[in-house]
Amino acid sequence: MLIPLEAKLALKQEVGSSNVQTDELALLLNSYDCSLSRGKPDLVITVERTEQVAAIVKILYKFHIPFVARSAATNHAGSCSAPSGGAILNLAPLNHIIEIDTKNQCAWVEPGVITEQLQHDLRPLGFFYAPDPASSKACTIGGNMAQNASGARCLKYGGTLDHILAAEVVLPNGETLLLERKTTGPDWIGVLTGSEGTLGIVTRIKVKILPLPVTVKTYLITFPSLESCVQAVSDLVARGVIARCMEAMDQLTARAIESFARAGYPIDAQAVLLLELDNAPELLGQEEKILQAVCRANQAQQFIPANNEEERARLWRGRRAAYAVMARLAPNVLVCDGTVPRSQLPRTLLQVREILHRHQVKASLLFHAGDGNFHPQIIFDERDTVRTNQVRQAVHGILQSCIEQGGTISGEHGIGLEKRDRMIYLYSRATLDLFARIKRAFDPEGLANPLKIIPPDYLKTAGTTAPLTGELLQLSEQIKKAQQERRSVVVTGRNLVFQTTKPALSTLGLNRIIHIDLTNYMVMAQAGVPLHTLVQTLRSHGVYSVLPDLPGTLGGAFSSGCFPGFYAHVTGIRALLADGSSVRYGGKLTKNAAGYNLIRLFAGAQGTLGMVTELTFKIYALPCTVLSPLPAQPLVKSPLWNAVKREVDPYNVFAWPQEETR
């Protein structure tokens, strides 16, 4: 696109002329990231101070120039190329750690701070930042937030989403907002995390920091099959031992690593698991005993503990070499990223090997065994277009197989351009349309990182949801009717929190506990299930959740804002929207980086954006700390909420319990 001279001059005045590049070479060098996608911008703006971002975005907004934030450009998704031209905002110079507050266990950083740099500065203070993508020596906290990146420690500590406490964001119209984790209203930080820069540019981030674990022990364990390896991991989690990381690989990968790095990996086992426990020394001893028992029960072949720092480093050297082995064999390494419910891992991995074989594609196969996330690292030469197409076909096959197993097409790398066209197989038209509405609410002009995540032609290509039946169908009809008649209703459960007297749409008919999954340790239940029934039923199955045995329903606990601590345990959601359509997001998955996080959109929204009908969440084999309810707070109708409401529920079908309704 043609950038008006006036815009260029205004930008140069804002950031200095040396920070606005328009020459062909600079543009070409800003048109890639670590994926196969390309998109050449029309100008590159280097931002040296966070305050400049708002001013720059205002100018771009005025001249209707699309823009893409770019930090280290290490993403695998084609998230920071500029397929429709416009401006690249190079945020890499915003690399200052603003403040580290060990007393309140948080730190304020600029988005361009390299993840490892924060780690390096925290270490002498006895703290660490938990998210640990393998690229942490190069990627940035801003990029991590945009992709909801995570790493080996995700199962125990969570991904980036769980470690952002507040963020300052510049919306696509140049307005600056400070978002904090409030108890009521959607969890905006949750929505923004993983949005790949399509909703705004984050300029300052407050992250959670944790005290360094006292003791860490590392083990290398081998199994006769992928199944026994995954079962051992499930059993361990169920017995309350959440390992700091559980990195696994199949035999072919272990052999490749061993021949390259000589890290002492056994090459005769079908599955090799690198597992690390961290805890206080006395507790670690107990955990180790449980680990040994679980491994025995699952026919583990070898159990090799690292006895000192040197041995530990050697074991990790092997795991870390996994990427280098591949990177040296061929010009390109495509790190594919799929996630399935943990129980489906063995079957999916066998399918993946079969797909790779069918397409004659070479790859190593690594997986985070604890969270069902796996990474085939496919090698090829992109200069050979026939081969590259085969690789693409194989990747499509792998992602399709994830979808079929109830999984998702990205656990941590995001969607960007690379997987955008696969989204129609994962989500229904209604869900994709909700994504598009969220995008429009934040960015009505479509300027922030356009063309990413949502397939442009989804209305034509995406499928519809399976037809609703029974109670859900009735509720959907009622909602549709209300919208047609421009009436408002209030979603209620037991109606305990706000005790509304308005026309209500009750979830109480949605009272089924659909499935208690003792392999993945997840429960799927409808929103109207009373907490008491839920807790008792779980207990009768010998499992526990963080929800208390109190009056009220599951949906109410999730939507009222009284249990913000519960959000992190929820992994899947279904909801009815104002037009009566049903949307679905997530499932029995501990990781999902595909699309905007709908769980966090509906969390604490007090039924004002849609009616939550079903939730999937984590359960445990041992009693865990139960959450206490916070006092109910009225919904904060922030400008952001207003914007989203306008898009998602323009006729205010879902009224807030205590407001005047028509």
């Binding site: 590049q21 070479l25 450009a73 190079n90 890499a92 190069a138 990177a327 010009p331």
Partner: protein, 431 residues
């Protein structure tokens, strides 16, 4: 896969040395999969964090060029900045899972464009060492004399050295110790060598670096003493490194061939050839690459490269040094920061100093290699500052380097910013 544009000129390399063997230039650069892991360690990217100063950008530039998607020209400021700013330090390669030799790619691009980055007078002077050693020695002595009679000081007072054509002179002046005493011939028992070797054949050859010969005689002496006797010393011998980095590949090849021939003639090419400069070591071990595409030489060059040794091969480190002072290793070198000498140096220092041997963060910078400070004054100053910061931050007292030049550069900085510490070549570690 071959490059779409095959250029077989004498000014280009045919093969690039990688961990997976030799590759042609196009293949070599195609192995850069744009992962970006190299950027944060690049000293230039640290100062100017943008793609147009990153190692990945440098590689992608070469790729665009070879795929004829751009028309390279020295008039292109972005291109010029990418090529000029690289210090050839090889830190990016150390971070790269694919072991991509970015520095070599940059050198190739400079050669293809005939881009010279040194001030022209300095360039001509240093080139004399290979082409006319006698003249070089004469000019060098004249320079030392003029410095002794305070000519340089006068030029500085008159601010002549602030003119861009003379800036390097001030830097050189800062770099050199107050007293420059070229190594006297009489130190090495060279005169009587022929007679001695008739009885006992030499055990190795010592090729003193330029700085050991001209500026740091103690380095030459200590290295000499470490080596298995009798030592054959090859003085006034240019390796071709300077020409390889700063100029003419054809000339570099000629010098290297001359050295190889001489080595072959001496004891049938069986003697190890020892150098005190990591840069010379890394260059000579690449002899196969430098002479690739020259059928008559490739095999001989590889045989020769196998005989190259660095001083750390001969440095005994058995007992701890009774010192409580912190020490660091300064890895500043050309092309590379990993391999035998680096591992050996680390081992030596940890044996000698135990816990007092301070390890640095992966993003800490080091001295720009091989007189790089002469090329881009403004940026070099920022890198310099960061380099000293890491020493001051860890309260390090002694910094050990792998070349005399790096020690000189480091001492210049320390004198300016952190006089509490001192830099020494690693051969002096036990003193």
């Amino acid at each position: 896969m071959t490059s779409p544009k095959t250029d077989t000129s004498m000014h280009q390399l045919h093969q690039i040395h990688t961990a997976m063997g030799e590759r042609n230039l196009y293949d070599s650069v195609s192995y850069c999969n744009r992962c970006g892991m190299c950027a944060p360690v690049c000293p230039i990217y640290q100062i100017l964090p943008r793609e147009t100063t990153s190692p990945r950008g440098r590689n992608q530039l070469l790729r665009l060029w070879l795929e004829q998607k751009i028309k390279p020209s020295l008039a292109d400021k972005t291109l010029l900045a990418l090529l000029e700013s690289c210090t050839l330090c090889g830190r990016c390669k150390q971070m790269c899972a694919g072991d991509i030799p970015t520095a070599e790619h940059v050198l190739e691009m400079r050669r293809m464009l005939r881009l010279s980055v040194l001030p022209s007078f300095l360039q001509s002077f240093l080139q004399l060492r290979g082409s006319h050693p006698f003249l070089f020695s004469l000019v060098a002595r004249l320079g030392i004399f003029l410095r002794k009679v305070h000519l340089i000081q006068i030029m500085r007072t008159l601010r002549i050295t602030r003119l861009s054509a003379f800036k390097w002179l001030a830097r050189l002046d800062d770099l050199l110790p107050e007293q420059v005493v070229p190594l006297e011939r009489k130190f090495f028992p060279v005169v009587k060598q022929a007679a001695r070797f008739a009885v006992t054949p030499p055990a190795c050859i010592y090729l003193p670096s330029l700085e050991a010969e001209w500026i740091l005689p103690q380095l030459a002496r200590d290295t000499y003493k470490l080596l298995p006797q009798p030592v054959l010393v090859w003085r006034h011998t240019a390796s071709g490194l300077f020409e390889y980095v700063y100029g003419d590949l054809a000339r570099s090849r000629r010098l290297l061939c001359r050295l190889i021939e001489r080595h072959e003639r001496t004891e049938n090419g069986k003697l190890p050839l020892v150098t005190d400069s990591i840069d010379v070591y890394l260059f000579l071990t690449r002899a196969g690459q430098v002479l690739s595409g020259q059928p008559a030489w490739e095999e001989r060059a590889r045989r020769f490269a196998a005989q190259i040794r660095f001083v750390t091969d001969y440095l005994p480190a058995t007992e701890k040094v009774p010192s409580r002072q912190r020490v660091q290793l300064e890895c500043g070198a050309l092309f590379e920061r990993q391999g035998k000498p680096f591992t050996q140096a680390r081992q030596i220092l940890s044996t000698l100093f135990g816990k007092n041997f301070v390890q640095c963060s992966y993003t800490d910078t080091d001295i720009p290699a091989f007189g790089y400070g002469f090329t881009l004054h403004n940026r070099a100053a920022e890198i310099d500052f960061k380099t000293v910061a890491k020493i001051a931050r860890t309260k390090t007292k002694s910094v050990f380097t792998l070349s005399g030049l790096a020690a000189l550069e480091m001492n210049r900085l320390l004198k300016q910013f952190y006089p509490a510490a001192e830099a020494k070549h690693i051969v002096h570690a036990k003193r």
